[in-house]
């Protein structure tokens, strides 16, 4: 059985009269690239807030690395690196920003400098010297990911890391996520409303809809398309008739993978 690193059970959250989460349960296993998908306002960011302790929850439990105890939760949150936006200090360089956030995370002097260089190399900002205010959107996203990586976390949470990026930037982030997961063994939880993007990135998916995780599936579940197969036969005209009765030789049969988008809409009942 897979070891769960994050588990939510029956998590509920209400903002005034609006119920954002209506009993969310999900499980992220060690080594996963877990894609949290759902339309804007579905509750993806609120789920992250619950995991990170940035918003008090009304009901339910959050477990990180097997612990639900408040004291241990605080300690275990130290194992999570997270990217939730690109709000840094305008007048500091990438290095100085990372130095500040590294200090906040309690990473000591010499190791902090080494870590800063390591994560800047991973995200491709090692040679950038200018201040944050001069950064492009792509560079800001990269710095956000670098900040999440500093301190060598076991779990990485990325909230819509490809927002506002061009196709090259999206591909770069996707490659970065794969590298982080494969090379450093970091479990990644990533959210997006761009389904095609996550389809190529994640190994497991949680579909968030109307305040619930409506379905959790693996990449394997997408493999076999239930309603359609492509068959090449030697007599196309008569194929339908003969197939049923007389066993016309099937020369080629291709099983297509359904897209994540199709699966998503099947679950939530949309178009």
């Amino acid at each position: 059985m897979s070891e769960s690193v994050i588990r939510l059970q029956g998590v509920m959250k209400k903002y005034v009269s609006h119920e954002v989460l209506k009993g969310v349960s999900l499980q992220v296993n060690k080594g996963d690239i877990y894609g949290l998908i759902g339309k804007n306002g579905a509750g993806k960011t609120t789920i992250f807030k619950m995991i990170l302790g940035l918003s008090p929850m009304d009901e339910g439990t959050v477990s990180i690395s097997g612990s639900t105890n408040e004291k241990e939760l605080l300690k275990n949150r130290g194992r999570i690196g997270f990217f939730v936006g690109t709000r840094f200090f305008d007048n500091l360089s990438a290095r100085d920003n990372l130095d500040y956030f590294g200090t906040v995370k309690g990473i000591s002097g010499k190791y902090r400098k080494e870590e800063t260089e390591r994560v800047l190399e991973i995200v491709g900002l090692k040679d950038v010297r200018k201040k944050y205010k001069g950064f492009s959107m792509g560079m800001k996203q990269r710095l956000g990911i670098a900040n999440a990586l500093i301190g060598n976390p076991e779990i990485l949470i990325l909230d819509e890391p490809t927002n506002g990026l061009d196709p090259q930037g999206i591909a770069d982030v996707r490659n970065m996520i794969h590298r982080i997961n494969e090379e450093f063994g970091i479990t990644v939880v990533v959210s997006s409303h761009i389904l095609g993007e996550l389809e190529n990135t994640a190994t497991r998916f949680g579909i968030v809809h109307e305040g619930l995780v409506a379905k959790e599936i693996t990449r394997e579940d997408l493999k076999i398309r239930e309603d359609k197969i492509e068959i090449s036969v030697d007599d196309l005209e008569r194929a339908k008739e003969v197939l049923a009765a007389n066993g016309i030789k099937v020369l080629k049969e291709t099983q297509e993978r359904s897209t994540l988008e199709e699966f998503y809409f099947r679950v939530i009942g949309g178009v």
Binding site: K49, S55, R77, Y100, T103, G106
Partner: protein, 239 residues
């Protein structure tokens, strides 16, 4: 918590805001209270500077260079998401305020005492001691008023309510409490934070021990911190 304080202070002293604000008050520190006046008159001028100008300046680096940056970036979210409790975040910010204001007062004191040593009229040892007590109490008053603004800062997660409220405390609170006292015919001034600080100033001026006042003053500050912690504990952190 210590990591957050260290990070805040390192960042603040890398930026220019602290130094600019110190330089802004430097001409007043150097040039006011000199010339053909008595030592007592010099004390009055210097007390005015240390009780009004320095407190006005001393909190600004914390509001602008620490809180302002915090709200423009995700640094508080980073600290909390990394396992720091919200109570410790509030405490860390209060300690930032104490340290930064303390440094501003210390630098101002160094300039003033250097001036007293170099230029006339010279202060007596007793006057110097009294002035040192005034500086300590002005710092305590600054820290107290700063603490009283924290509930508003954490409620709105903005700097401006804090700055406005701080200036109200510094400039208007005496008149407000006194008018309330007159209208309601109750003696609240003596037990107010400001009244207690003034009582301590009077004790120091008479060469007496000010410490009996300190526990009551501390209770006020702790009360403000508890209120800030409660407000921040139910606050949603956006990102």
């Amino acid at each position: 918590m210590i990591s957050l304080i260290l990070a805040d202070l390192q960042k603040l002293f890398r930026s220019k805001v602290f130094y600019i604000l110190f330089i802004v008050q430097l001409p007043v520190l150097i040039f006011v209270g000199n010339g053909d006046i008595t030592a007592e008159e010099r004390m009055v001028y210097s007390n005015g500077i240390i009780n009004y100008l320095t407190p006005l300046i001393a909190v600004l680096p914390t509001y602008l260079g620490i809180f302002g940056d915090d709200f423009r970036s995700d640094s508080m979210q980073c600290a909390i998401g990394h396992g720091l409790t919200r109570n410790k975040v509030v405490l860390a910010k209060f300690i930032d305020l104490m340290i930064v204001a303390g440094l501003m007062f210390l630098l101002s004191a160094v300039v003033l005492f250097a001036k007293f040593e170099i230029t006339t009229p010279y202060l007596t040892v007793r006057q110097s001691f009294r002035f040192a007590s005034t500086i300590l109490l002005a710092w305590l008053k600054t820290v107290g008023y700063g603490a009283f603004t924290l509930p508003a800062v954490f409620l709105f997660l903005r700097v401006s309510p804090g700055v406005i409220l701080y200036n109200c405390f510094l400039l208007l609170i005496c008149s407000i409490i006194q008018s309330v006292q007159e209208k309601m015919d109750v003696g609240v001034y003596d037990i107010s934070f400001t009244g207690l600080i003034e009582k301590a100033e009077a004790l120091a001026a008479a060469g007496k021990f000010v410490w009996p006042v300190i526990p009551a003053v501390t209770v006020y500050i702790i009360g403000a911190l508890i209120l800030s912690m409660w407000i921040f504990s139910v606050k949603e952190m956006e990102f």
